[in-house]
């Protein structure tokens, strides 16, 4: 019953909030209540206790429970942020529906159903990408439609490749194809490309840059945090369910690591190039995706711990990043259409949030990304200094790009300095226009940003509890023990 509630409660609430979507406050409160209820339900589900339902096995593992709580927390953060940040009329129903799908994926073991649910969640969020707020008098942007279409096509292609790979695993028997190249390599290639599409690894990353550029920041944050990280969890599940794919392809596993290294260095180079704030932020996220992917395909306990911890940190950092970005992009009471360079002074909380989240993505101590980066570097060092050097190079390049962005957009001198001019002949103080007062940051969103910021710092300073849980979960993964 608990399993069914965890799956269907957000779905029914999504339908209810869709009907009530014009009443934004009520809908957000209901969504927040739903997420909190989901957390209560998740607490009560026993770990590693499989249940059969309609021929499907539902089970909650320790690792998936961690991700489940993180996703629900991210959902709660997103709904709180939505009180003050721009979002489409259907954001809440779509987010709840996606949460329901993600919860289901985390409870499942069947690769076919998981693949289809991943694809369905991709279709669901397309609606949010092209969504406009209630009662808005503008037209939806053509670039937003193009971004949604690109996302849709690539996710369906990823699903198709993944599905074919799982069909092949169904008939694949190890050692049957001794006279030919093992189909395990072909299956692994299909899976690598499909997950690279979903995880936005270079050169399959363009959907993410378009998404960040043209969708609302909250929507982009939701997709990157929930769907990308869920894909990573599914990839771990695939390795766990089909370890023979890895055993029969040991000689070519370096190719996967090479792809991840190229992704890290290429995105590092892209961060340096002059670009808009959104585009630079997108490249920083891509850099982090590459790092996490490397940790996973390093296929060592240290690398896997780094990847899982990195993925958890990424969800927090990305949420903080996009909430801060949305706050920075609010009309600030000054003349529009001017590229501002004093964003940190104008919006101190949001500016600090943006800086901290970017630094967390880079893995700078004492923030949450530091330890995961260290673990991934350690895993790279085990494969040779060249791989470690490539990762460090990518990080340095991304750091330089962040410094460029901070100098250009955040750390500039205040542009609101008003020079006190002497009174003209016959002019009095009363004749002068009132001193302009710029609105401060919305309080609830500012508090949320500070909370996320402190969370990033707290995990960075004291990562042991999470790391211990991850280590314990990794010990149960057979493929990593054997490899």
């Amino acid at each position: 019953m608990l399993y069914l509630l965890l799956i269907f409660f957000p779905v029914t609430m999504a339908a209810s909030t869709f009907i009530l979507r014009r009443n934004s406050g009520l809908v957000l409160a209901a969504a927040l209540g739903t997420v909190l209820t989901q957390m209560l339900l998740a607490v009560q589900i026993p770990l590693d206790d499989p249940v059969r339902f309609l021929g499907i096995t539902l089970i909650l593992t320790a690792l998936n429970q961690v991700f489940l709580f993180v996703f629900l927390a991210i959902g709660a953060f997103a709904f709180v942020a939505a009180w003050n940040l721009p979002h489409g009329a259907n954001f809440v129903p779509v987010a709840l529906l996606t949460l329901g799908q993600v919860c289901t994926i985390l409870l499942l073991q069947d690769p076919f159903i998981t693949t289809l649910l991943l694809a369905l969640s991709g279709l669901t969020v397309v609606l949010a990408i092209v969504d406009l707020p209630v009662g808005v008098s503008a037209l939806v942007g053509t670039r937003a439609i193009a971004a949604a279409l690109k996302y849709l096509v690539l996710m369906v292609v990823a699903m198709m490749l993944m599905y074919i790979a799982f069909v092949l695993t169904d008939i694949f028997r190890p050692g049957e194809f001794l006279d030919r190249v093992s189909p395990a390599r072909f299956i692994l290639a299909l899976l690598t490309v499909s997950f690279a599409l979903r995880l936005a690894i270079v050169p399959f990353h363009t959907w993410l840059t378009d998404l960040v550029d043209y969708a609302e920041p909250l929507v982009a944050a939701f997709i990157i945090t929930l769907l990308n990280t869920t894909s990573l969890v599914v990839l771990i599940l695939v390795f766990q369910n089909f370890p023979v794919l890895l055993f029969e392809s040991v000689e070519i596993l370096w190719l996967m690591r090479l792809g991840a290294l190229i992704s890290v260095v290429a995105t590092g180079l892209l961060v340096i190039a002059p670009a808009t704030l959104r585009r630079t932020v997108a490249y920083l996220v891509l850099y982090n995706c590459g790092m996490v992917f490397y940790g996973l395909v390093a296929l060592s306990p240290v690398g896997l711990a780094g990847a899982i911890f990195g993925a958890l940190n990424q969800t927090l950092a990305v949420m903080l990043l996009f909430v801060s970005l949305a706050l920075l992009e609010r009309p600030d009471g000054r003349a529009p259409g001017v590229v501002r360079r004093d964003l940190l002074r104008r919006w101190p909380v949001a500016g600090a949030g943006l800086l901290v989240s970017c630094l967390a993505l880079l893995g700078l101590p004492p923030l949450n990304g530091a330890l995961s980066h260290m673990l991934i570097y350690q895993a790279a060092a085990a494969h040779g200094w060249i791989e470690l050097l490539a990762l460090v190079l990518g990080t340095c390049l991304a750091g330089l790009g962040l410094a460029r962005m901070a100098t250009e957009r955040l750390l500039g001198p205040s542009e609101d300095m008003e020079v006190a001019e002497p009174l003209l002949l016959g002019e009095t103080e009363l004749d002068r226009p009132a001193v302009r007062k710029l609105a401060p940051e919305p309080r609830s969103t500012a508090i949320l940003t500070i909370m996320l910021l402190l969370l990033c710092l707290g995990i960075g300073i004291y990562p042991q509890p999470i790391l211990a849980t991850i280590d314990q979960a990794i010990q149960n993964l057979a493929f990593i023990r054997v490899l």
């Binding site: 159903i113 289809l116 198709m160």
Partner: protein, 242 residues
């Protein structure tokens, strides 16, 4: 050699979707494609028949696939039929309305200056030839499904789907390509998993595949409606031009 008529119809309908651009041609082809696929599955007996339909024993799952196909075609056809209707104009401001008028003029101008050209069909034609050659040779090089006919069918559907997406010039055709790809994986899943060596058919993935097909059609219909409402055309060139 006996001709498999269902396979022939399946192949021709997919080729029509790859070649032609007009939705009045491609929509009936999509329906025929789903019909032929359902009949092909029934003929190959991948799923044990459990339903007596007008004296013919068929599987319930095949009927579900047929109904899914009809639903998908109806969604897309109804969307195409209602393109000319205007929605939500009352909420637009003057800038939005003038933008729409400008888009309508541009689309009309484009339609009048771009008459029928044989050149538009050259690339899809040769892409089709390539897909045919690949679909004929792949079942021998890399057989996956239990019979050569099933292998040809899924390779052909998958390749024509991908090539339809690659050569598409409008959004609706991209949707058709995606649906062809979905049909391909549906067929290969049903054929392979139901073999004695396979893990056995499960109702849930098959049901979810049908849901996926319908949601995909809805997503394509929604995006098409949105694009047509915005630019008065489904041309992808216009989408990326502005």
């Amino acid at each position: 050699m006996a001709i498999n008529w269902f396979l022939l119809v399946l192949g021709i309908s997919a080729a029509i979707m790859l070649l032609f651009r007009d939705w009045r041609v491609t929509m009936p082809a999509l329906l025929v494609n789903y019909l032929a696929l359902a009949l092909f599955l029934a003929e190959q007996q991948f799923i044990t028949p459990d339903l007596n339909l007008f004296g013919f024993m068929v599987s319930t799952l095949v009927v579900v696939k047929l109904l899914t196909g009809i639903a998908v075609t109806l969604i897309l056809a109804l969307t195409a039929l209602t393109f000319s209707r205007e929605y939500g104009l009352e909420s637009l401001d003057e800038f939005g309305l003038s933008e729409l008028r400008r888009a309508a003029r541009a689309a009309q101008r484009q339609q009048t200056t771009q008459p029928f050209r044989w050149g538009d069909y050259v690339l899809p034609f040769w892409a089709g030839v390539l897909a045919l050659l690949a679909s004929l040779s792949l079942p021998r090089i890399y057989p996956i499904a239990p019979s050569e006919a099933s292998d040809f069918a899924w390779y052909w559907l998958g390749l024509t789907g991908i090539l339809t997406i690659a050569t598409a010039s409008d959004l609706l055709k991209i949707g058709l390509g995606l649906l062809l790809c979905a049909s391909a994986i549906d067929l290969v899943y049903t054929a392979v998993v139901s073999t004695p060596g396979g893990s056995g058919l499960n109702v849930m993935p098959l049901g979810l595949l049908s849901v996926f097909n319908i949601l995909l059609a809805l997503a394509i219909a929604y995006l098409s409606g949105l694009l047509y409402g915005r630019l008065k055309t489904l041309e992808l060139g216009e989408l990326y031009r502005r």
